[in-house]
């Protein structure tokens, strides 16, 4: 049980990390759209950034909660 929780924590951590990166990049894509559009060769437009940024909020919160929950649970299990 402990092993699978550990594995789950690692997965959640990496997904959360990817979400944070996407959140930062799309945030730049909204406020610094001239730069981001240039760097991404026009692929990440302001409107697309805004849509991704908007739809990432819920997954981000879910994985943040999972990440915190697993961290606390595993630490508690280890200390018993």
């Amino acid at each position: 049980m402990k092993v699978s929780l550990d594995k789950l924590k690692v997965i959640a951590r990496w997904i959360l990390f990817a979400l944070v990166i996407a959140y930062i990049i799309t945030g730049f894509g909204i406020t610094q759209y001239q730069v981001v559009e240039k760097i991404t060769l026009g692929l990440l437009t302001k409107v697309l950034s805004q849509k991704i940024h908007f739809y990432l909020l819920i997954p981000f919160l879910i994985f943040l909660i999972i990440h915190i929950y697993l961290s606390v649970t595993i630490r508690r299990n280890n200390s018993i």
Binding site: V10, F17, I21, I24, I25, F28, I30, T31, Q32, Y33, Q34, V35, K38, I39, T45, K46, V47, L48, Q50, K51
Partner: protein, 227 residues
Amino acid sequence: MRKNENIIFVVLLLLIVALVIIAVFFYRPDSVPQSIKNLSSVEVREYKGEDLSSIAAFRENSIKGPQYVNISNYKLEIYGLTNNPINYSYDEVLAKQNYEKVVTLHCVEGWDVTILWKGVLVRDLLDDAKPKNTANTVILYAVDGYSTQYPLQYFYDNDIIIAYEMNNVTIPPERGYPFMLVAEDKWGYKWIKWINKIELSNDTNYNGYWESRGYAKEGNLNESFFG
């Protein structure tokens, strides 16, 4: 396994640092409204008990940076489906009946500013041009190539002004001098700055700069700005 994870983590961290460096490198000094800092001594920050935002509270997000219009050869052109095409000079527009109102601009980026605007009714300008019966769309153009469109009726159903003063200060170049549309109840991208042309048209399918890139055509505040 642990070592690989650390390597990936370091690589991603370096990626973030690289992105930040690139963003700083491309940061345009134009976007810092330095020249308007000196205006605070004349800018009003309260109007009839209502707190106003500072002119400097705007964020620079225009498509080509601030435009510096030479007013000596500036013309506001009204053309298209009109019986009386007009070329107004800046002073001719200012000579018309002016109006003041406090309106809040809501940007799709999440910020907003409440400003005391002073300007002339778009309706008055359109009336001078005598729109033809077939005209049903108004397309506004800016000196930087930006454009946005409205149903003609919007200007007759609402008291919409093109402003030349904000908070009792002449609109600075960074904010849209000489004229900025105060598009009440519309998202910020409909508030076109640096207006130099107004076209009366019957092309209801016309899409402005942001509208053609995915933002809603109507741009109503009570609706999503995604088209």
